[in-house]
């Protein structure tokens, strides 16, 4: 086979319809070897590529189908795929040609013909195709059959009821046991596509078909293996043994070179594990999953990214996976930023007492890099580490203080934000550093950081001699501050007054702030809180003190763990877009199929306890409009109604149950050793959740800077 370079670049020039027409006409005579025709057609295809409308040439191009040159035929077919849809009244001209090709002796041409026809969803064409497709699905050549299988999916998309009436779905089902593995895998792909439609048929596998499909895997192409593996989600195990047997057969696919095969195999294993009882086997599978996941990290950066986002989900559900492998997630200096950010998140998840020191050293290294987002996330992770791993807290605080010394504004601000949380997690332990923080007060210009600092000052006003002076300075710009800072100032000045009720200065300050809040502010939240404080103070300052300085619930890092029911559901989408964004696809893709575990006697009781049903909600036709064009917002503070930024089960009211169930996984199996990793926590009483509503944490908690789909349909309105 020649690898000679083509010379077609010269055809990439905008051409006029008239010229092409004339050239085609000229090519009808004296065109030896059809060179002229080929040239014009190439020019036309190039113009289609550039987006120039070539459809007026329909009548001139179609006759070229008479040319016995395969290359020309393919170009004309490409023309028809591009413009056939816009020519419903003329397309019948081509049909005889199509039919001729459908009955060609050459299977490649037969397949080409039905493939092309099925790309033109116009009734006349579909009509003609129906009869041909029926033959082709039984063609003796496997290449034609495998093409026909996909054609059924296309025909079904165009008109589901007609395709059903023609009996295509049954014929596809018969192809599931075709002797040729490629045909089987394409039939599976087509059925899966049909089964995923909201108006499609119900596609479910029984054990014997599932076994037959698995047998075909060995002979299918890598893509075919993916389609087959994927379809195993449609097999619902009724007995533990069925799930276990299938899993053992799927396990060997983990050694495949194609990362999509590996991830899809992992998806199936995770799914089947929900139906297993044998702890040893579950442990064995978890052990087996780790190395292939790490190997995915030596693929291209894009696949690494997909793998990392999935690993983040998997390690939350199956904590034994990769438990001791935190080192492989250390960032390389030249990793793309999206890989670095994803790795950082995993490093934090895998951090525990034994490796906290190493992780911290890495995080400190990252905090001196140049990418602002990455640095911020690194600083934030140091703080989270302090909260998560108590024995490492001292070192983390020291690291944060070092970072504050750099005086890089965004580093200082980020550090202040996390230090506030550390104060809450370990009350009375680190207050000694407050003076250091106060030195950097002027550097704080972001609302979140400023509010955090104000909270620190207010909360510890009793131990700071100059608290009143500091607050006095801070309230100077009260009226210009954003609401979250104003709220913080209001609470802080009330606290100050309660601590130092004798101080004239404090009295004057609180009076001033309350007056502003109640008289000059339009925000009802702020105004009402102002009134409330004012009355409390007026009626009984003692009780006001108890209310405002009430003991706060201990802070934990629990809230950034997804609850198990939601995880079980998300993991059914391993490898797909849903797993990248950590959202169920039906919540951000219109008409996407949701998935949920099906309850059977074999379902693990713990999985059953947290079972989440599929919400068959459709996206509203006019999706809610959020930010304008521009870079993906890393730290959006605007509310996003349809897409809760915090992982939440799709059904309202589901939260409480899921939370309780989440506590249940401690008893489950040897494979869940999460109990060790958790700090003492008050289940179901998530202090962060409350803070979120106040906006104190920037609206979306720690997951705010995760990748997310933009719900902006308007950008697509071209």
């Amino acid at each position: 086979m020649s690898t000679q370079a083509g010379q077609d670049a010269k055809f990439f020039q905008r051409g006029k319809i008239q010229e092409f027409r004339a050239e085609l006409q000229a090519a009808e005579v004296k065109d030896k070897k059809f060179i002229k025709r080929k040239t014009v057609l190439k020019k036309i295809v190039a113009n289609i590529t550039m987006g120039n409308d070539m459809s007026p040439l329909f009548h001139d191009v179609v006759p070229c189908l008479g040319t016995p040159l395969l290359e020309i035929k393919k170009m004309v077919y490409l023309f028809l795929v591009s413009y056939g849809k816009s020519k419903p009244n003329e397309i019948h001209l081509v049909i005889p040609r199509f039919l001729e090709d459908c009955n060609d002796r050459n299977p490649l041409i037969r397949a080409l013909a039905i493939r092309t026809m099925s790309y033109i969803p116009i009734p006349v064409v579909t009509e003609a195709l129906t009869e041909q497709l029926r033959h082709c699905l039984k063609d003796r050549d496997p290449y034609v059959r495998k093409t026909a299988a996909i054609c059924v999916a296309k025909v079904y998309t165009a008109d589901p009821r007609k395709a059903e009436k023609a009996g295509f779905v049954e014929m596809l089902r018969d192809l599931l046991v075709d002797p040729n593995a490629t045909v089987v895998s394409n039939a599976v792909a087509a059925l899966t596509e049909i089964g995923d439609r909201t108006d499609g048929v119900f596609f479910k596998l029984n054990l014997s078909i599932a076994n037959k499909l698995l047998a075909a895997i060995g002979e299918s192409s890598e893509w075919g293996q993916i389609y087959i593996l994927d379809s195993l989600l449609r097999f619902v195990p009724e007995r533990h043994s069925d799930a276990e047997m299938l899993a053992e057969r799927v396990l060997i696919q983990l050694n495949h070179a194609n990362s999509a095969v590996v991830l899809t195999a992992i998806k199936i294993l995770l799914y089947l594990m929900n139906y297993m009882d044998n702890r040893r086997l579950i442990e064995h599978i978890c052990k087996k999953m780790g190395p292939p996941l790490v190997t995915l990290l030596s693929s291209g950066p894009e696949v690494q990214y997909v793998a990392l986002r999935n690993i983040l989900l998997i390690i939350q559900r199956r904590p034994t996976v990769l438990r001791n492998d935190v080192k492989v997630f250390f960032c390389k200096y030249n990793d793309p930023i999206y890989v670095k950010l994803a790795k950082l998140e995993i490093m934090y998840r895998l951090a525990r007492e034994e490796n906290a020191k190493e992780v911290l050293a890495e995080l400190q290294e990252y905090a001196s890099e140049v990418d602002v987002d990455f640095v911020r996330k690194a600083v934030r992770s140091i703080g989270r580490l302090a909260i998560k791993v108590e024995p490492a807290a001292d070192l983390c605080i020291k690291a944060l203080l070092d970072l504050i010394e750099t005086k890089v504004t965004y580093v200082v601000q980020e550090a202040v934000i996390v230090i506030k949380d550390i104060f809450r997690r370990y009350p009375g332990k680190y207050e000694g550093i407050i003076p250091t923080l106060c030195e950097h007060l002027d550097a704080l210009d972001e609302p979140e950081a400023k509010a955090a600092m104000i909270w620190i000052v207010g909360q510890h006003a009793d131990r700071m001699d100059n608290a009143d002076d500091l607050l006095d300075d801070l309230v100077y710009t009260f009226l210009e501050e954003p609401v979250e800072v104003q709220l913080a100032l209001l609470s802080a000045s009330v606290k100050l007054f309660i601590y130092k009720s004798k101080s004239e200065k404090a009295k004057e300050l609180v009076h001033r702030v309350l007056k502003w809040a109640t008289e000059d502010i339009d925000n009802p939240d702020l105004r009402d809180r102002g009134f409330m404080y004012w009355r409390l103070l007026a009626i009984n300052p003692g009780i006001a003190g108890e209310v405002v300085l009430a003991e706060k619930p201990a802070i934990t890092t629990d809230s950034d763990r997804m609850d198990r029911g939601a995880l079980d559901q998300l993991l059914l989408h391993t490898g797909t877009l849903g797993s990248i964004y950590h959202k169920n696809p039906e919540t951000f893709i219109r008409n996407a199929a949701g998935r949920a575990l099906t309850d059977t006697p074999a379902l693990n009781p713990n999985s059953r306890a947290v079972l989440v049903q599929v919400a068959r909600t459709q996206l509203p036709p006019t999706a809610v409009n959020i930010p304008g064009p521009g870079p993906n917002e890393p730290r959006s503070r605007k509310p996003e109604p349809p897409l809760p930024a915090k992982p939440a089960p799709p059904l309202p009211g589901e939260d409480g149950d899921a939370e309780e169930g989440g506590g249940g996984d401690e008893e489950e199996n040897g494979d869940e050793t999460e109990a060790v990793l958790r700090p003492v926590a008050v289940q179901g009483d998530d202090p962060y959740a409350g803070l979120d509503q106040l906006g104190a944490l920037g609206g979306a908690g720690y997951s705010a800077d995760n990748p997310k789909p933009k719900g902006d349909e308007d950008l697509l309105a071209f």
Partner: protein
Amino acid sequence: AFFIFNQKGEVLISRLYRTDLKRSIADVFRIQVVSNSDVRSPIITLGSTSFFHVRINNLYIVAVTKCNANAALVFEFCYRFISIAKSYFGKVDEEAIKNNFVLIYELIDEIVDFGYPQNSEIDTLKSYITTESVMSNSIAPEESSKITSQATGAISWRRGDVKYKKNEAFVDVVETVNLSMSAKGTILRADVDGHIQMRAYLTGTPECKFGLNDKLVIDKNDRTGASDAVELDDCRFHQCVRLNEFDASRTISFVPPDGEFELMRYRATSNVKLPLRVLANVNELGTTRVSYDVSVKANFGNKLSATNVVIRIPTPLNTTNVDCKVATGKAKYVPAENVVVWKIPRVQGGQECTFTAMAELTSTTTRQVWARPPIDVDFQVLMFTASGLIVRFLKVFEKSNYHSIKWVRYLTKASGTYQIRVRWSCAFITRYWLTSACCSTDLVLRLVMVYVTLRSYAI
């Protein structure tokens, strides 16, 4: 849909597989990604539409979908497209794409149907998608059914009619060493990404068996305790390898594709032998000078040697000049990249090379933040494997029972993956700059600048 864009955002290839997308979606990609200087993800989702892209030689290979697509599959397909294009045209750049666009349309019609990747084995594709003009009535039915059975068959990667006068097989074991060493000299991460590349020129349908070290532990979990054993954390095989046989008896048996292919990929993290030991000492002398002391020692037998050793030593952004002294190789300051590049054509096993340099800095106060990149070492060592992996045998069985010659070669290399972080023995430099800036009037300006970059992310 599948697109190829050039750097300017012009569409070079556009193929829509589904009716839910229009050609105009290309404009969205151009605006959102090509003309966006701050793209921070290979996947972008707007509404229900998702764009996946892979960049190569200033081209964007793009897949667009409105489904909850399998992201791994999409990227694997893009990679595959690139390797097919490389094999057909030799290189993948704007020129090659434009010169072969008709052929590319043929290819992508063949390898994807309705968004589902189909047979993408290069060898098979080349048997029926060619640059030569084919008369549609000239293909004999037997010929075409041979093609179709290969394209859909159990051994879709090999034609049955391969013939060679001389039967040969070449095995290349290529290992890439990843090293990340902290400034204190502790190894943060050292592992090996290995792959075994095979070029098989064998007649007929040969059955091959492949054997590695005797003491090979492939699954860490069945560790026997032997400390000198070569341990592979994980291995992945070309689709020709029978995975069930590997699972049952750890034998690697397969019918190879014709020509070159990657038989196996593996990863090792234990007992990694680091071929080069790098020690670096960097001292800040006052505010205007930095001294460097770097030594490289070859840590393998003296019969072997490392070749094409390139050591990249980063210098501060405000470096004006670097005075380098080396006994072996050549060292040169490259201002555009802020590094000193020290090239040594050959380092014999056991040899130690040293580098000393003095960098002069300007003393401006408006400096950018510098991330102190690590020292990076590239090299190649022939006939050496960092993991210790050895090919013991390759057996070829074919029904005609011919004699075949097998060759094995080993190569360990690093390119951009062998990194040694540097400790600045004075207070670290970014800090120094910032504190010095604090005393000057430039402070406000500087902080404002940082703030602006920050905001541009947050908009």
